[in-house]
Symmetry: C2
Subunit: 353 residues, 2 copies
DNA sequence: ATCAAAATTTAACGCGCGTAAACTTAATTA
DNA sequence: TAATTAAGTTTACGCGCGTTAAATTTTGAT
C-alpha cells in the first residue's frame, strides 16, 4: 500500500495551495496578507476582519518554511533547560512555554539531559532555525562558557535559574541569600542550628550561592557553619543524597539534628535514607532529626514526612525572563549592561522541620 | 545599542552564504551537494570525503528553511507525550529522542500537559512543519479520536504507551495482562490477595487494561477481586492517591492488607497517606500493609518504604516504536493492517510488598 | 583497451513567500 | 471639501535550495 496521503478538505472548497491563491479567493492582495500573517495587528481592523472571515471559509495556512526563509527574524523562541526529567525544570519550562505562546511566538523546548555537549548541540540546533531569542537555563559549572558566549553574541539570550557570569543579556533567578537566610532563621528559631547538606562539587551555581548564604546566615546568628558534603557527580541527586545520608546516619556522624539540604532532590534521597535506617524525621518532640530542602519540588509534598522547603517563585521568574527577552526582541536592542533580577523565595512549612 | 549581530568566523575564511558558494570553494557541484545533505550515503565515497573535508575547512550548513521548503518530506519527526512534568514520560521521551537522532532525523518533542486540546494543537503545529512521521503517546480516553485519526491519515504515526483503537499505523506498549498477572501472582504467593487501587474514571487506557488484568488474575487464582476506586480527574495522581488513601485508611476501610496500585504515582500518594496516618507499610511481619505499584517511576526507589513495582521495558518500547516508524518512512509504505506490539514487564521487588 | 553502468556536472526552472517601489484608494483632519 | 496621511494594490525581484534533463566524466568489469 503506497503512502498516498489523503487530501483532507471538502471538494467544494478545495485546499488553498499558497498565498497567491488565498489572495485571489479572499480579495486581499498578497503583500497585505503577508503583513497580516507576520503581525495581524499591522493591518487595518476592517481588512483584518475580512482576512479572518476568509480564513474561516477556506482554511489556508502559510508555508512555515517559505515564510521563515526570507525573514530576518523568525518568531521562534528557543527554551533550553538542563534536565527535562526533573519535574522542577519541567514545571518552570511549562510556564515559560505558555508565556512565549501567549506573546505570539513559537516555543521550541529542548532539554540538555545534564550533558554540556548536549547543551551546546541544542544551541547549535537552535541557531539553524534562526530564533528571535533564547531562554536558557544553563547546566552551570559544567557548561562551556566560551561556546555559550559565542552563541549569545549571535542570538539574544536571557539566562534563568542558573547564572553564568557575563553570559547572555540578562539573568533572572531566585535570591538564594534571602531564601537560605529565611530558612536558617526559621530553623534556628525553632530548634538547633542546621548543618548544610550539599554536593562536594556541585555543578549548579545556585548550590555555591546557597552555601555562601548558609555560611553568612549562620555567622550572622553567631553559629558555626557545619558543612556536610556528599561525593558524587552528575544529576542523580536523589541517589547522592541517599548514599551520603545513609552513610552519615549509620555512622552516627550527624553534625547537627537539623539538616538543611541544598535542594529538594538531595533532601528526598536523604529522607529516604533516614526512613530506611529507622531515624524518625520531623519537627515534633518525638523526632530525632529535622530536614529541610529548597525549591518546593513537586514531590516534596509526598515525602515521608512531607518536606519543609523554600518555594521559588516559578511564575515570576518565568514572566520576568520572558518579558525581558520580548523587550529585547521587539525593540531590537540589547541592554547597555547585563541585568540581573532575583526574586524572593517563600518558606513552605511542612512536616520535616 | 542596535542589535548588530557580530559575524562569527575568521576573516581569512569568510562564512559561506549558500550552497552555491560552498560548491565553488569545495569544487563539488551544487546538485551533488544537495544529494549529500539529503543523504550522505547517496554519493560516492570519494566525493563524500571531499565534501566532508571541505566542510571542516569552511563551516557551512544549509539553510534549514530553504532546505525543507521544497522537500516532499522533511527529516523531522514529532514526539508527543501527554505530560512533560511526569518523569516517566520524560524518560521514555528521552529514549525515543535519542533513537530518532541516531537515525539521522530531527526530533521535535512536545508535551500536552494533560490537555486534549493541547494534544490536538501539538499535532496541528507538527502538521505545519511537515514531519516525516510522528511518535505519539496519546492522553487516552480524553483524546479526541476523530481529530487524532484525521491527523494520522495525513502523517505516518506510531502510537506508544497508550493505545487508541484504530488510530495510527501501529501501537507499541506494555503487556498489562502479563505484568499485572505477574504482580498478582507474586503478591498472592507472599501474602494476602491484593485489592486494586485505581481511579474511578481513569483517563489512561492502560488503567482499564490493568483493571481487567487484575480481575482476570484474581479469578484465575480463585480469589474475589476487590476494587478500590478513587474519585478525581486530571493528572495529579499523587494527590488523588493521597486523598483516597487517607480516607480509606483513616476510616479503616481497607478491603485487604495488600494494595496493588494501578500506577506508581497513585502509590506514591497512597504511601504518603499511610505514613502520615502512622500505618506501617512493608513486606515484613511488623507491617500492617503491603503496597505495590506499576511502572517503576523514577521516584519509586525513594518512597518510604521503597516501592515494589513493575518495570516497563522503556528501552524496548522506545526502540520498537521508532523502528516501526522509520520502516514506514523509509519504505514509504503503510502497514497493511495495524500492528500492535507489547512487551513484558519485570517485577521489581522493593520494600513495600 | 573497451564499453556499459554509475556518478557527477551543467543549465535551468520552480517553490512559496518576504520585501521594496510606485501607485491608487480609503480614512482622517483641518 | 480639500489636503493630508495611512493603508492597500500592482508589479517585480530575490531568497536558497529541490529537482530534473541532458551532457559529461568516472568507474569497474570485461
Amino acid at each position: 500500500m503506497k503512502n498516498e496521503r489523503r487530501v483532507c478538505g471538502r471538494m467544494t472548497e478545495p485546499k488553498i495551495k499558497n498565498m497567491e491563491e488565498f489572495a485571489a479567493v479572499s480579495g486581499i492582495s498578497r503583500p497585505t496578507l503577508s503583513k497580516y500573517f507576520n503581525d495581524p495587528s499591522s493591518v487595518r481592523r476592517s481588512t483584518r476582519t475580512r482576512i479572518e472571515s476568509a480564513l474561516e471559509k477556506f482554511d489556508y495556512q502559510p508555508n512555515f518554511y517559505a515564510m521563515n526563509q526570507n525573514r530576518r527574524l523568525t518568531k521562534n523562541i528557543g527554551i533550553v533547560i538542563p534536565y527535562m526529567a526533573d519535574p522542577f525544570f519541567a514545571e518552570i519550562a511549562r510556564n515559560v512555554e505558555n508565556l512565549v505562546l501567549d506573546a505570539g511566538y513559537r516555543p521550541i523546548l529542548l532539554g540538555s539531559h545534564g550533558d554540556p555537549e548536549q547543551e551546546i548541540e541544542n544551541l547549535e540546533n537552535l541557531r539553524v532555525i534562526k530564533p528571535a531569542g533564547v531562554l536558557l537555563a544553563p547546566l552551570g559549572r559544567v557548561s562551556d562558557p566560551d561556546r555559550l558566549s559565542a552563541f549569545c553574541a549571535d542570538v539574544p539570550t536571557v539566562l534563568f535559574d542558573a547564572n553564568i557570569e557575563n553570559v547572555g543579556e540578562a539573568f533572572v533567578g531566585s535570591d538564594n541569600m534571602q531564601s537560605i537566610g529565611l530558612m536558617v532563621d526559621y530553623l534556628c528559631e525553632t530548634g538547633e542550628p542546621p548543618a548544610f547538606f550539599e554536593m562536594k562539587s556541585p555543578s549548579n551555581p545556585n548550590a555555591l550561592k546557597r552555601r555562601s548564604a548558609y555560611v553568612y546566615a549562620m555567622e550572622r546568628l553567631g553559629h558555626a557553619p557545619l558543612l556536610l558534603q556528599a561525593p558524587g557527580e552528575g544529576w542523580d541527586f536523589e541517589d547522592i543524597g541517599f548514599q551520603e545520608g545513609s552513610r552519615v546516619i549509620s555512622e552516627r556522624n550527624l553534625p547537627s539534628d537539623t539538616i538543611l539540604c541544598s535542594n529538594d532532590r538531595l533532601a528526598i534521597g536523604f529522607l529516604s535514607a533516614a526512613y530506611q535506617l529507622g531515624l524518625r524525621v520531623g519537627s515534633g518532640a518525638e523526632s530525632a532529626l529535622r530536614v529541610a530542602g529548597h525549591d518546593d519540588h513537586p514531590f516534596s509534598r509526598y515525602t515521608c514526612p512531607t518536606l519543609t522547603t523554600i518555594a521559588q517563585d516559578y511564575e515570576a521568574i518565568a514572566r520576568k525572563s520572558a518579558q525581558t527577552l520580548f523587550g529585547m526582541i521587539e525593540s531590537n536592542a540589547r541592554p547597555v549592561s547585563r541585568i540581573e533580577t532575583v526574586f524572593d523565595g517563600n518558606l513552605v512549612r511542612r512536616g520535616s522541620a
